[in-house]
Symmetry: C2
Subunit: 160 residues, 2 copies
């Protein structure tokens, strides 16, 4: 049996306290932007197939969001606030998991038009400390992230 090559995200830590994530999507930038900025599209990929409740969604500078994900009978709350929204280009938001309240990362996602109908999303996550950053890397984040991105691939191909 052969395994299809999957386009996993590239995850690196070139700078102290940061995680850099790069992933290319086979869709134009406006479609990828819509998948990140419209809640009815976000719910179709963010949790990668897990149960997903949206308790708050205020997509504007200063607005809050709060999601509750359910998997294997466990619930996990995630929340934060939007710092910057530049349409089609950039979303900066805080990110906090209920399991470690008060440990806040700042996630900056940039949407880069590759000019060939594809879009690269570069996300830089900054933590207050290196320990928090490394804890996130050890948490199984990579698996969950790639599952979410594959769900996003599927959404983008459906809406093509």
């Amino acid at each position: 049996m052969t395994t299809e090559t999957t386009t996993d995200a590239t995850i690196t830590t070139p700078v102290e306290r940061e995680i850099h994530i790069e992933r290319i999507f086979d869709a134009p930038r406006e479609r990828v932007w819509a998948a990140y900025s419209r809640i009815e599209q976000l719910v179709q990929w963010w949790s990668g197939g897990n149960g997903f409740d949206v308790e708050r969604w205020e997509f504007r500078k200063g607005g809050h969001y709060r999601f509750v994900e359910t998997s294997d009978g466990e619930t996990h709350g995630f929340e934060g606030r939007f710092r910057e929204i530049t349409p089609q280009e950039r979303i900066v938001q805080t990110f906090e998991w209920d399991g470690m309240p008060g440990h806040v990362a700042v996630d900056a996602a940039s949407f880069i038009d590759l000019g060939d109908g594809r879009t690269k999303v570069v996300t830089v996550s900054q933590y207050h400390t290196e320990e928090e950053r490394d804890g996130m890397l050890r948490s199984g984040m990579e698996t969950g992230l790639n599952r979410s991105y594959r769900a996003l691939d599927a959404l983008l191909s459906r809406s093509a």
Copy 2:
């Protein structure tokens, strides 16, 4: 006219991205702790005499708080979440001002019994970047902080 010597807080920046604040209060630790942990006491000093609405107050690990202060016709929202609460000893919480949403500091306040009926409160605030830390220092924070601490002095002397 002579000016009374006031016991201003000592504010230093010994570590990158941090602000350290020390202040001694003329009251036993349990009284100072009560002034920080009971909302009906906190409202009497936190805003230093400005209008003060409590929109949320969940004093437990993972709980949220949100205050709205009014002065000179302007309103300022402040919010965050409790990371750690060790009774009589330590409160760690995030702190975010509506005017710069998504810029989050972590404030760790330690309550030290000086053994002579006085209490030292040491607060260490950590920012994601040095720019955010320096912006806070330039914001007039010191004036507001000392006004709040003097209001706390007054509360502690009333409840003596």
